[in-house]
Symmetry: D2
């Protein structure tokens, strides 16, 4: 595990972008799996600037790792929440070809891990961490560590579901789909980003505490090639050295 604590969100975002570009600049197919959310926003500003319309990055294929299809009250499907975010953050402003954009969805999730495998596996996977310890859409107690992919039925058994459904403005979701631990640990280089003091506790727990399905993000301790990049606040409570 390598831990890089940058002085602020700007520096953390630039550094993350450079690591991505380092991989992408190789002269062979490179498969990159990307996260949506708030944390990578500034990173995508830099990445779009570097990648937009650059033909020398056409060796790169992009993948998403989770999806929550949203439906209107009438049951009409609205484009997946995650795909919409990723398109707005990166795919559209960077003009990424559709043939190089691979989105997990309710129609392909069962074969998505195999699609990745047949393309040579993920060279790089970028993930965030939730304040509740979630990683991708592996929510606490909603998935285990022993599958490549999960379909999670959204019921009120999950304490976070009510609030999530409320956030959809009258629409609703019935399932979430996500790559699981077995897929995440296959990525050749895993990069976790986190910023803000509200992430400091969970990050410490995930990286320095026991490995447990109650804190899904704790699985990343088992990744053979993990780099964690934070701003000064999210990394403030870490006591780990980089050994191991």
């Amino acid at each position: 595990m390598k831990i890089i604590i940058e002085k602020d969100y700007e520096a953390m975002s630039q550094h993350t972008c450079h690591i991505l570009l380092g991989h992408m600049s190789q002269a062979k197919r490179v498969n990159v799996c990307l996260t949506a959310g708030r944390t990578p926003k500034r990173m995508y500003d830099f990445l779009v600037e570097s990648v937009k319309d650059k033909s020398y990055y056409r060796n790169v294929h992009y993948y998403s790792f989770d999806e929550t299809p949203v439906f209107t009250p009438e049951g009409v499907r609205i484009k997946g929440d995650n795909q919409s975010q990723l398109e707005a953050l990166f795919f559209k402003p960077a003009n990424i070809a559709q043939s190089h954009s691979h989105f997990l969805s309710e129609t392909n999730y069962e074969t998505f891990p195999q699609e990745i495998e047949l393309a040579g596996g993920l060279d790089l996977m970028l993930v965030g961490i939730g304040e509740d310890g979630h990683i991708c859409a592996n929510m606490p107690e909603s998935t285990q560590f022993n599958q490549l992919v999960y379909a999670i039925k959204l019921t009120d058994e999950f304490p976070w579901n009510a609030e999530y459904q409320k956030s959809l403005n009258g629409n609703y979701s019935d399932y979430m789909y996500t790559l699981g631990a077995k897929s995440i640990l296959k990525a050749k280089h895993l990069i976790m980003i986190a910023n803000g003091e509200e992430k400091a506790d969970i990050l410490k727990q995930a990286l320095e505490g026991p490995i447990s399905e109650a804190i899904p993000a704790s699985m990343i301790q088992l990744h053979p090639n993990l780099t964690v990049i934070t701003d000064d606040k999210a990394g403030a409570k870490l006591t780990l050295t980089n050994l191991g």
Copy 2:
């Protein structure tokens, strides 16, 4: 995960040997981590025959993954149990140079993971599984998943300790040392071997059940490049396909 169920112990041993030779036959440094015990005995017969005095395998370095130092009642250290076994099974009959033999011990265990790292990491790790679900010397409830290496104090808190000490014929051990999950999951190719019907239940549980520190071997489900080779009996209860 790839599961190979061979028709008998002989076929399983040959197949395992061939996989090892496949890696070792590359033209670059190859680091191989080997298991002692009963399961690999026949495999070592084949390996010794292929490797003995062959200068073209001098690119290979060998590592062990655990050790239990044994002491006489007077406190004199007898050579480590695991090293003694490995030397008898492989290192002596195959004439492996000392400079290519790297044994974990009570004096180097803290830096052993780093020694492996500095040598480019393990290309291949061969492990067995205990009927109690142990892997390397990660005994049930004696280690967690979040360290590279463990020193386990042998006390009667562990239900298996009394019997173990009895097996030492008047001698005793105070500590066991073993690579942990974080090291095992770093090997580029992990091979688990198992034979005999007494391994069928635990193998099914480890490969198809939940991932839990109560069954340390269950961690291998998370390995990105895992091959399991069994005879017909140990593999008899597996229902897994090879997908994932």
Copy 3:
């Protein structure tokens, strides 16, 4: 470079098979590029026995590296010479699925290197060597080292063409297609096999002499992970140690 001189053709064939199986036994997509010809015949006997109907090898995809389409005097295309050979030697007896069989031909040769690239590259490439120093269908002076793939017009400028056309029993060929040095050097592990005393001189020249387009096989000296396996006769004149 690693050089393995076995005691006879049988031992060389078995050893080569074991190296292939070692790679194929990994738990991820493995791309293997195979040679036809006389040299690998016995190796395919062993390989077919190990691979036939084994579902645990369905992670393997197979590629060919050259082709010479043959035409009747009336201009009707007969199945490619190389594909026919490979099917007889391996693909048919081993029951390899068509979806896992990728043959270079006159219709796909321009995009074949890219097809390989998009599938993650070749993990293993098995080649022979001709008495004239050819490798794949890179004949002396018919190709250079600076392309991924070549279409070679078969004219009598090439001293070997007349004899080749004669061997086709009244049929004829107008072009040969072959992966070139740039593709061959991309394979992650390159294995050259040679047997018989008639190969001893050219093997020595290719491995120990200058690197030159006059001896196309000499290019393999530049491969970063090359294993050469011979019987006692083909390897008899090599003076190289395995260093480097």
Copy 4:
């Protein structure tokens, strides 16, 4: 081969630095081989800023690839020309530990390729190109392509020797030492940088012309993972696309 033509020397230097950081940011030993000379000067400014005193880069080991020992007229050895340059450009300002600095010299050149091999090989190698087509210290007609390392006796048979000796201000050199093609092609990622219009012709010739020992840099066409980064002037005459 990937070709990246940046808008100027500043952009090319930054981009090169980012690729290096991308590799170095992995959580495992990373071996980087660096070039001295004029071309990488600005790149080192950026690299020093990113690397200086950063404990999270202590997984990186640095290597040089050539050396020309310099002697006073009295025969007293002055520190190697290349080591001195690299120390001034990078090792001293970035405070790189001596234990992580590996310089090729007249005393270790014969075992230097093996030292690299035993450390897991080079993950990244950064090279420039000379106007005469040299790469590392492989000068035209002074080395071939078939060795890991060369000791080149500096005699006036080489047309460039007189001028070189003159540049040493009354001192002299008798030998140059350099990694050869076989070592250069083993690096897992090879990056060539070039700037200025005086490099445009030779770069085109090296990348698009025949592969020949008369233009030693032409060997890089054979590298399986090559990235070329130039400013607008050095890349101005390239007609290559990035395919292949």
